[in-house]
Amino acid sequence: MDKVIGVLQLVLFVAVAPAVKGFIHKLKLNLRGRKGPSIIQPYKDIFKLLRKESVISKDASFISRIAPILVLLALIVNVCFIPVFSQHTLLSFTGDVIAFIYVFGLSTFFMALYGMDQGSAFGGLGSAREMTIASLAEPTFMMIMFTFSLEYNTSNISEIFIRVHNSSFNVPIAYVFSLLALFFVSMAENARIPFDNPETHLELTMVHEAMILEASSKYLAIFELSSYIKLLLFISIASNIFLPFLYSSNMLLNILFYILKIFLFSIPISIVELSIAKFRFFRIPDLLMISFTLAVLGFVLYYA
């Protein structure tokens, strides 16, 4: 029975992911005063891409064929760690925080490899930048997750989920720091403003887009899906583990609450994307360092 729930969580997650991205995009454009594409446009994009013919450069090796699948698989494994509306995930028997972060690293690694494999200048540029950002963002992410592990004395994400939702949970106000740090890290890892502009194709400003520039048809579809899943992953961490309200024991009600919460949590992302401009690339390490400071402050304040 638990396994069925686990599979159900995975299916729900992957199904909702493109809608979240569409929602963020539509909200951003609406706030700017434009009409914007519909929320289900990302689904249509993926289906459109699947029908097209793929073009691979003749300098590409086997990496270009297997890297997209590996990235998607790594992210799906990550989804199996996260409790969506119930604590019975597919990997809840081990659900280790450290493994979670390292599997993330795996997906970043293969995406960077793909970017370099095609032999074009843009790809290498994107990979180098992505690695810089990832090397600064991942320790911060680890720090945030460790704050939680140390508080609840466990490194199993499902256990954390259970304990967080127990009634006598006091939110230490120092979590504001960790939440802010998580916000920064999400924006960094998902290639959002101020780290990277998801709507651009200018070489000065691309990071994520540069790596997947050469992809076409089904490979591009897989990459797009991976980026939607990654975005939803971070939002779910924030909504399910950080601020556990709106949780009931009825499963259907939980599904409804979950969908409500993730749309709620994507609103700040749109607003931030709207309000500031993208930073110059060499100010990004400063920003990530500040988020590291926030994570350390949250950690040390609680645990010292």
Partner: protein
């Protein structure tokens, strides 16, 4: 889930916010950002002092909190803003140690100060909030010292010194619930006059050297 935020946690949070703004100062590329951050830091500090009155029930702290607010959050930033408007042409902060490493060093300072304070005060303190706020105060002190040594522009060194004083006042609030009133007023007066004098001296530096870059102040050497 309960959202009980006890008073001690809120006080700690405000103190940590002050520390965060102090670290943000080391990351500022421009002078006016540093001054604004200093304003918020002093504001967080005065809120901390004000709230700890309710924790310690010592009403003299209210006067100190109000003084901090007036002098450090309003008066001194205004003075510094006037100085920057009048004489500073190039508002960028040139560092001796670049910004990314500065923030990393500040993180290590925070960890070190928490470590140092945790070992020494077991026998004298019974309250863990006081221990944490003392550690935050020591961290702010060291961040201020670091700011004084790691930047070239004279105005940032003054801000570093004022951060140092903020840390000391926070340390005084947490351990001894505020110094006796006469001493406290004397300290505030000294800091304020010191900041004004440093400002006037910056005018002189600008007159004689034509720049505020203190790395040019190296005529007197052996």
């Amino acid at each position: 889930m309960n959202l009980n935020i006890s008073l001690s946690e809120f006080v700690e949070f405000m103190a940590a916010l002050s520390l965060f703004f102090a670290i943000l100062q080391t990351a500022s590329h421009r002078l006016d950002f540093a001054i604004k951050t200093y304003t918020f830091q002093s504001l967080a500090l005065s809120i901390t002092m004000f709230l700890s009155v309710f924790y310690y029930f010592d009403y003299e702290l209210i006067l100190s909190a109000v003084l901090t607010l007036l002098i450090k959050a309003i008066l001194i930033p205004n003075v510094m803003k006037k100085i920057t408007e009048k004489i500073v042409e190039d508002e960028s902060v040139k560092p001796f140690i670049n910004f990314t490493y500065s923030i990393l060093i500040c993180v290590f300072i925070v960890i070190f100060s928490f470590y140092a304070m945790s070992n020494t005060f077991y026998s004298v303190s019974s309250s863990s909030m006081m221990q944490k706020i003392l550690a935050i105060a020591v961290a702010i002190i060291f961040v201020g010292i670091f700011l004084m040594f790691a930047r070239k522009k004279a105005l940032i060194q003054v801000i570093g010194f004022l951060t140092l004083e903020n840390g000391i006042i926070l340390g005084a609030t947490s351990t001894v619930k505020g110094l006796p009133l006469i001493v406290e007023v004397g300290v505030f007066f000294d800091v304020f006059v010191g900041a004004i004098m440093a400002g006037i001296l910056i005018f002189h530096i600008k007159d004689t050297f034509d720049s505020l870059d203190t790395s040019k102040l190296s005529d007197l050497k052996e």
